[in-house]
């Protein structure tokens, strides 16, 4: 197992506003491994931005420990923290480029801060802009660039000081689907070719699906679950995970009166979704099953899905049907709700 590069322990953060206190993070423990692309997903207000900002202490937690690359950031002096921040790049939803500087000058900015000689900085900035595919836009100002190009400049700028970690706070949320894909591919390349650990915050499942290795589901300031993307997509364990993966909505659940009985979640894997398993089961067992919910999706080229079905009250028939499904190699678990 790869070594841990970011380790968060017991992170708590609240904000005091006029309307009262908001507990944005209620004790977060998280380990992110070197070289992985780690996703953090959650609904708006879940605390995603606050969490990622705790990693470079743009937001200082009241409690807890932030260790990046073996250094306990909370224990550093201001100057020590500034030095360490150079090894943690960050990009933002709104790009946050210097509007009065050209693309090239923007990428030179962190190098100026790091006191890199001008000629050397310029050379490095040119290389980085070539890396992100903007060699022909060195002298353009941000206002002359598209959203995707601006994010590329921001990525080049974040990479200037050769960071070990790249934090991305909703980096693609302001972009259209095609541009999103391009930027995600660029991040993937950067991760693979430069070995930079990438932490991605998003509220969009497809972003996680597209490039992440592991994902943490954040719900109301706590981590609901952390696992590989595949596992979370196949069988989300938390309520929030299910909501995000299967778009289960609360309204659906409320529409069903009382607890539901004899209901099971069937999880499909790979090509199985294409075969008429349920139809065959009903034919063979001579009993009807009620489909309460169904959802399938593509992950890494394979079809995954889940279906929630209600089986007959007759215990013998039910057993027979469950046995049939199990024989087909499906995961079946009883559920009390859809």
């Amino acid at each position: 197992m790869a070594e841990t590069i970011i380790s968060l322990r017991g992170i708590k953060k609240h904000f005091s506003t006029k309307k009262g206190t908001v507990e944005a993070l209620k004790g977060i423990d998280l380990d992110i491994k070197k070289g992985e692309i780690f996703g953090i997903i959650g609904l708006s207000g879940a605390g995603k931005s606050t969490l990622v900002r705790c990693i470079n202490l743009l937001e200082r937690p009241e409690e807890g420990q932030v260790v990046v690359n073996g250094t306990d950031l909370m224990k550093l002096s201001n100057e020590g923290l500034r030095q360490n921040r150079r090894s943690i790049g960050m990009i933002f939803q709104q790009f946050h480029l210097l509007m009065q500087r050209t693309a090239l000058e923007n990428v030179c900015f962190p190098l100026e801060i790091a006191k890199v000689p001008q000629a050397e900085a310029r050379k490095r900035a040119e290389e980085l802009l070539a890396l992100v595919g903007l060699s022909d836009r060195l002298e353009s100002y941000p206002s002359q660039l598209s959203g995707g190009q601006k994010q590329r400049v921001a990525i080049a700028r974040a990479l200037a000081t050769s960071p070990q970690v790249l934090l991305c706070d909703e980096a693609t949320s302001a972009l259209d689907p095609n541009t999103t894909k391009e930027v995600l591919n660029l991040l993937k390349d950067i991760n693979r070719n430069l070995g930079i650990t990438v932490v991605i915050i998003t509220h969009e499942m497809r972003v996680i699906q597209e490039i992440c290795n592991r994902v943490a589901v954040l719900d109301g300031g706590v981590i609901a679950e952390v696992d590989t993307v595949e596992k979370v997509f196949r069988a989300p364990k938390s309520k929030m995970g299910r909501q995000l993966v299967f778009h289960e909505s609360d309204e659906n659940r409320e529409a069903l009166q009382g607890p539901i009985e004899n209901s099971y979640r069937i999880t499909f894997e790979g090509d199985m979704t294409n075969s008429p398993i349920l139809g065959n089961m009903m034919l063979e067992c001579q009993a009807a099953a009620n489909i309460l919910a169904a959802n399938t999706r593509m992950i890494e080229g394979k079809v995954y899905g889940q279906m929630i079905i209600q089986l007959p009250e007759d215990a013998a028939k039910r057993e027979q049907m469950l046995q049939y499904l199990k024989n087909m190699g499906l995961t079946v678990e009883e559920v009390a709700y859809v």
Binding site: L58, R85, M99
Partner: protein
């Protein structure tokens, strides 16, 4: 008459320009300090922010003519006299500096907070953020502010004519008002109007050249 007008024009011009430059030398750092020490600034410091704010408000609340009379001892001490154009520069600077501090403050505050955060995430020091982020990013807005400042100072300098100042305002008042020679009044006012137009237009052109956002 022509000579008088020309003399008045030059006096007004140099009074205004020198006062503006001097007032910026004081007001600009004060504006920077106001922004830096604010609660969401790069080095928050409430006592400094609050006391500087109150000091600036007090100076700004004194009407210019009263201020001019009040600071006469300072004027006398620094310039050796309290009448004429050079002497007017002292109260002009004292009146304009706090005004400029507020203009600078509002310009710097327009800079997107996110850009500052991005710089912080790269390890920029508060000083670097002020000098390399806030200041250059606010340049167009600062220029707009300077056009406002210079025209306001020109206006102050003209009213200074009432209490012994020089320039176009003094001529207009001395000849046009006290001697009731209105033919002196109109050209002076016309030139003042023209100067305001020119300063304002120059400022706006400079903004258009400097601003890279469009």
């Amino acid at each position: 008459m022509f000579e008088l007008v020309l003399q008045g024009f030059w006096e007004s011009l140099y009074m205004t320009l020198i006062s503006t430059v001097a007032a910026y030398l004081i007001g600009l750092p004060l504006g920077l300090i106001l922004v830096a020490t604010d609660a969401d600034g790069v080095s928050p410091c409430k006592p400094v922010h609050t006391s500087l704010g109150i000091f600036i408000n007090i100076l700004r609340s004194i009407p210019f003519l009263l201020l001019m009379i009040t600071v006469r001892p300072i004027t006398k001490f620094t310039m050796g006299t309290t009448i004429g154009s050079p002497a007017t520069i002292v109260p002009l600077v004292i009146a304009a500096a706090p005004f400029i501090a507020r203009l600078v403050e509002s310009s710097l505050k327009e800079v997107d907070r996110g850009v500052v955060e991005a710089a912080q995430s790269m390890g920029a020091t508060p000083r670097e953020i002020m000098l390399k982020v806030l200041f250059p990013e606010a340049k167009p807005s600062l220029l707009v502010g300077s056009a406002i400042a210079v025209t306001t100072i020109l206006g102050y300098s003209a009213s200074a004519g009432i209490v012994g100042g020089g320039g176009l305002g003094a001529i207009a008042i001395n000849y046009g008002y006290y001697r009731n020679q209105t033919e002196y009044m109109l050209p002076m006012v016309a030139i003042l109007v023209l100067m305001v137009q020119v300063f304002q237009e120059m400022g706006m052109r400079a903004v258009r050249i400097v601003d890279k956002r469009q």
